[in-house]
Assembly symmetry: C2
DNA sequence: GTTGGCACTAAGGCATGCCGAGTGCTAACT
DNA sequence: AGTTAGCACTCGGCATGCCTTAGTGCCAAC
C-alpha cells in the first residue's frame, strides 16, 4: 500500500466530493481518475484513510466523504493554489480602480470577492494605530453637546458626540481645538492616550472639565479605530449552498452579525507559508461555524487587517484560496503604502 | 350568511394560521373559537371567502390559508394594534437611553426591534436635506489628494477623498476652506448645489480648478446624505422561520444586501391612518420579496426616514405593527427635535 | 502488494393500502 | 333564508413491503 497513492486517493475524494456533493465510492474513483489500480485496491486504501480519521462513511454502504481532518491534510499538503484566470484578474483590477474613498474601496472589494468565490466575503477595516492624527475638529451642536471629529492621515474619519458638562462658548471651543491640535498633530493613534493628559493639564482651570471630556472623546475615537469594524457581502450565497448545510445557516448568520465573533476569529487565524489561513469546520472556535470554513489572509500596508471568505467546509479550497490571496494583493496595492 | 361573521371567520383563520403554520379547517375553527355556529356553516362562509379571493386551499382536502389579499383585509379592517407589554416598553426605553452617537442609537434600535419582533429589522438613516452645514474641512493627504469633510448640524459627518488635479499648498487649501466656509455655513444640504457655483467663480483663477474639484466633492457629499443608507439586524431570524419559506430566503437576503432595493421600497410605502405601513407579499415591487411582508413607519423630527421590519407574510401583524410603531416613537423622542 | 469475486448492507425509489382531515353538496330543519 | 346534519369524495401523509443500486469488507488467489 503506497503512501503517495493514498494521498492521491484522498485528493481525488476531496475533489470529487466538492463538486458532486455526494459520497464518493471506490468504483467511481477508478473510473474518473486514472489511478492505474483496481477498485479493490482503492478500497484498501480507503479503509486505511478511514482508520486515520481522514475520511468517513455516512452509512454502511455509501461512499466516503472527507472529515475536517481530511480537508486539513488536503489543504496543507496536497492542493496547489490555482492561479486565477486572466479575465478574473482583469475584473479585479478594473473594478478596484477608480475609487479612492476607503469605505468605497472596501465595499467594492468585498462584493467582488463574494462574487468570485460564491461565498460570503468579509473584510476587516485596516488597523490604524500607526496612522497619525491629521486633524481635529470640535463642533458645537447644542449648548453642551460637542461633536468631536478625528481625521487620520490615512483618510479615516471618526466622529462622536460628547457632553462637555457645562456650557461652552464657540470661541472657547475654538481655543481648545487649537491647543489640542498643536500638541496632537502627527501623534500616532496608538499613542493618543499617553499624550492626552499633558494637554488637558495645560488648559486653564475654567475649561479643564470640558477639556477632559473632549480628551475622553478623542481617546475613545482612537480606540474605535483599533477595535475595528468589518464589512461583508454575499450572505445570499449561504442560501444557495442551502442544500449543503440547511440546519446551520441560522447560527452562521448570527456569527456574521455578531461582528465581534468574526473579528476575533479572523485575527486569531495564523497564516501558513503560502500567506493564506484556513480554518476548517470544528477547528473554528465558534460553535455555529462547526460546518463552515473560513479562508482569510492579511492585507494592507502593514499586513494587520484581514480579508477572507466564509463557506461550507465542502468548498473548493484551491480556487478559493487563490481568489482570496489575489484580491488581498490588489487591495494592498490600491491602498498603497 | 352574515357579513360580520364572515370577517370573524377570516380573522380566526389568519390568527390560527399565523401561529400554527398549518392550513386551518372548518372543524378546528369552531372548536378553537366560540363562533356559535356549526362547522357546516363555517364551511359555507369559507367557500364565500374563497370566492372573494381572501383565502385559498393548498389542495383539495386541506384547510384554508389566507391569501395576500386576505392578510390585507385583515390588517386594514379587522385587526387592532396590540399595545406592547410594560416590560417591553421598559426594555426599549432603557436600551435606547445612554447613547448619543447617531450610529450607535440606530444600531441599538435596530437590534432591539429585531429581537422584539423576531424578524429582520431595518432602519434608514435620517434624511438630512434640511440639515445645515456646520463645518467644512479640507485635509491634504497626499500632494494632490484632498480629504473633504462635511459636518452637518445634525451631527452627521460625511467624508470623501478627491483629486484636485494639481499640486496645492497647505495654506492655499486653508484659504479655500475659509472661503467656502464663509459662504456655506448655515446652508441647508439640499440647497448646496445652488450655492456652490457662486463660491467657485469668486475664487482667483489660479485655484479655480482646485476649487471646482472641491465643490464637486462637497456636492457629492450633500447628495450622499440624501441618497441614504440603512442598517439592519436579525438576518438570522430569516433562517429560523426557515420552515416557512425555505426557497425564498436567498432572494430575500439579496434584497437586503442590495440596499437600494430596500430603501426604495421603504420610501415608497404609504402609511395608513394608524401611522404604520404594511406591504404584503406580491404587493412588494421586488420579486424576491413575493413571500415576504414589510411593516414600516416613519420616524425622526420631520418624519421622513423609515424604520421597519421584514418577515414572512405569515406573521403576527398586530403585534409586529405595535412594536414597529412603539420603537419608532421612542427613536423619534431620543433623536429629539 | 494487488486483484477478482462474493456475501452483505443500507439507502432510495416505487407501488400499495390505509387513515384522517377536510371539502362540497343536498336535503331537511327552524 | 339561513343553518345544520349527513354523506360521498378527495387528497396528503404515513407505514409497509419490495426491488434496485451503490457501495463495503473480506478472503483466497495471483
Amino acid at each position: 500500500m503506497s503512501e503517495p497513492r493514498k494521498l492521491e486517493v484522498l485528493r481525488a475524494i476531496v475533489e470529487d466530493y466538492v463538486h458532486s456533493r455526494e459520497p464518493v465510492g471506490s468504483k467511481a474513483l477508478v473510473e474518473r481518475h486514472h489511478l492505474g489500480v483496481s477498485s479493490a485496491t482503492i478500497r484498501n486504501d480507503m479503509a486505511a484513510l478511514e482508520d486515520e480519521g481522514l475520511i468517513t462513511a455516512p452509512h454502511t454502504s455509501a461512499g466516503r466523504i472527507p472529515t475536517d481532518k481530511g480537508y486539513r491534510l488536503f489543504v496543507d499538503q496536497i492542493s496547489a493554489v490555482k492561479p486565477l484566470s486572466p479575465p478574473e484578474r482583469r475584473a479585479i483590477q478594473s473594478l478596484l480602480e477608480g475609487s479612492d474613498d476607503l469605505d468605497d474601496v472596501l465595499d467594492r472589494t468585498v462584493r467582488m470577492l463574494s462574487q468570485l468565490t460564491n461565498q460570503v466575503a468579509v473584510v476587516q477595516y485596516p488597523h490604524l494605530s500607526r496612522a497619525q492624527i491629521r486633524h481635529i475638529e470640535f463642533v458645537l451642536l447644542a449648548p453642551r453637546k460637542v461633536l468631536v471629529v478625528l481625521i487620520a492621515d490615512s483618510g479615516k474619519v471618526e466622529q462622536r458626540v460628547i457632553d462637555v458638562g457645562h456650557d461652552l462658548a464657540d470661541d472657547a471651543l475654538a481655543g481648545l481645538r487649537t491647543r489640542f491640535l498643536a500638541t496632537l498633530a502627527g501623534t500616532p493613534l496608538g499613542r493618543l492616550s499617553m499624550v492626552l493628559p499633558a494637554v488637558v493639564s495645560a488648559v486653564a482651570p475654567v475649561h479643564r472639565q470640558a477639556a477632559q471630556a473632549l480628551a475622553n472623546g478623542l481617546e475613545i475615537l482612537g480606540q474605535n479605530s483599533r477595535e475595528e469594524r468589518m464589512v461583508m457581502a454575499g450572505t445570499a450565497n449561504l442560501a444557495r449552498s442551502n442544500v449543503d448545510f440547511p440546519l446551520s445557516i441560522g447560527p452562521v448568520l448570527e456569527a456574521l452579525e455578531e461582528q465581534v465573533v468574526m473579528l476575533r476569529l479572523l485575527s486569531e487565524m495564523a497564516q501558513d507559508p503560502r500567506g493564506v489561513a484556513v480554518s476548517i469546520g470544528r477547528e473554528n472556535p465558534y460553535d455555529g461555524l462547526a460546518e463552515a470554513s473560513v479562508v482569510a489572509t492579511a492585507y494592507g500596508p502593514d499586513s494587520t487587517a484581514k480579508i477572507g471568505i466564509l463557506g461550507p467546509t465542502r468548498m473548493d479550497y484551491p480556487t478559493t484560496m487563490a481568489a482570496v490571496r489575489a484580491v488581498a494583493r490588489y487591495l494592498s496595492r490600491i491602498l498603497g503604502p
